[in-house]
Symmetry: C2
Subunit: 339 residues, 2 copies
Amino acid sequence: MSQIKGKQSTEFERDVYILGAASIVGQKEGEGPLGENFDKIEQDPMFGQKSWEEAESEMQIKAAKLVLEKCGRKAEDIRMIFAGDLLAQSIASCFGLVDLNRPLYGLYGACSTIGEALSLGAMAVAGGYANYVLSMTSSHFASVEKEFRFPLAYGNQRPPSSSWTVTGSGACIVSSEKSNVKISGITSGKIVDYGLKDSQNMGGCMAPAAADTIAQNLADFERKPEDYDRIITGDLGSIGKEILLELMKKKGYDIAGNYLDCGMLIFDPNTQDTNAGGSGCGCAATVLASTLLPKLESGEWKRILFVPTGALMSKVSFYEGKSVPGIAQGVILEHAGKE
Amino acid sequence: MSQIKGKQSTEFERDVYILGAASIVGQKEGEGPLGENFDKIEQDPMFGQKSWEEAESEMQIKAAKLVLEKCGRKAEDIRMIFAGDLLAQSIASCFGLVDLNRPLYGLYGACSTIGEALSLGAMAVAGGYANYVLSMTSSHFASVEKEFRFPLAYGNQRPPSSSWTVTGSGACIVSSEKSNVKISGITSGKIVDYGLKDSQNMGGCMAPAAADTIAQNLADFERKPEDYDRIITGDLGSIGKEILLELMKKKGYDIAGNYLDCGMLIFDPNTQDTNAGGSGCGCAATVLASTLLPKLESGEWKRILFVPTGALMSKVSFYEGKSVPGIAQGVILEHAGKE
């Protein structure tokens, strides 16, 4: 039994499905172009809690409970959780998910975490170790500003290349139970460091990693960009997009025709002052759950390459003058329903 | 194909081995009771670098290269890395492993991370997604003091229940290639929160999680404690040990006769001033690589339950008055050589 495909990819022999997904976002995301797609828009940025961190944890447990409810499943059905977030020591996930009382594998892949959670979740189900796993992430604008930048009250200045952290949590149940969306393969991403040090241009920092993973996926599966209805990155934003398209051209691929970026879909930069676009673990996760999966479920899209992207850095690495390497995890999602 | 065992465990149908392991530690660990077991003892706490974080990264890449060398393998043979550390946003791993140029799944399980890395690595190999994966972690006394407590120069006071973070990195190659040590199964750990808030008593905070995972393992595999030559936790230390033994008694198990703790093995508290024992991601990982695996390789031990333990907290969660939940990941290791 080998499901090894090319240099960095896996093609699952046993079918793995996304049984269902849920998305919970904040007010600003609700006012954006995808507003009506989200399951729940929470107007209170504190989510009824006393700190930003507790707010993010509350958002996670709400998303987890909602996806269970939508799929008609109980917490006990979930054999493993794969989850992570952007906060130091992943406290949003640790404190958010403790009450589910299910086994947890904590992840850190920066904003690529939902790609990592889906990849490992699919491995667990395809391997026969679980019938239902929960793959989820979150980010919260205010907890992330506190973690990486300045207290909100300081009124942080934002260059045009900066992104706006999405307040949102997206959760998927990955299962052996059939649904209309299949995870047919993955491409495991490498850390790619072009030496960029501008943490206010994360799209630029992550674009080389996205190009690396996408090109590797096409090579490993011997596919052309057109073999995917869409190739969709996590949160490169408008600056990162241009760099990605250019890098892909240099690798011999023109993906401009079927390329999308979750960070560019979730906000309207003209009216929402979000500069390059949305970012954060919650960006790709909520756009997937709310907007991408329904198009695969309906069959409007037959196959997409979903590539959440992460910028690897911390306050400390930034202050110590380190670069911001990127990582991107590729997940192939296919329509699995009857034609 | 189902390898699901009981409520939280997996029994691998396909054989998965630990092909080899490497350990690199600092001076203090080298002076401890296990000193002569480690592959390399580095006298320079900076590992030739300019910051504590860079020192930890350097230690990781050295451990990774050493295990490759010991196993006669090249970086290109490694299909996936499963790694993490204690620093915010896992920067020790991100910056340490970038030069290996291999696909990475970043993990966060606090000091249980080597258990998580071995569990997911075994899943990847047993599932047929990889023939060789690298499972590794690190911690560094000084980077961790900076991350969680005070600058070293402040001369932090330590209560008797506190532990001493191990400076060390342990790396294992998990493979489908046969060796004398097999990973036969895992028990996926839940977050367990007894509400303790004393981050200077992490053993006490983690003991309930260890008890939960050990008892679940025994139930899932229908085993008695004596079915394991040893049951070995990660870093409960002397206080956590007493609580664990008591909790296990309440669950109906007496494990006192075959119980060990990596944190109690690595330092001599009488001469090394390490209070309750060693801790940190590097503790269980280096003790495994240096001391536990050789006993399995030789057949002195036939089967052990290795249970790295993690305390889930951050500076922020501590300052906000949150408790310190624990998590423990169980890995069953067996002698696989000829009798």
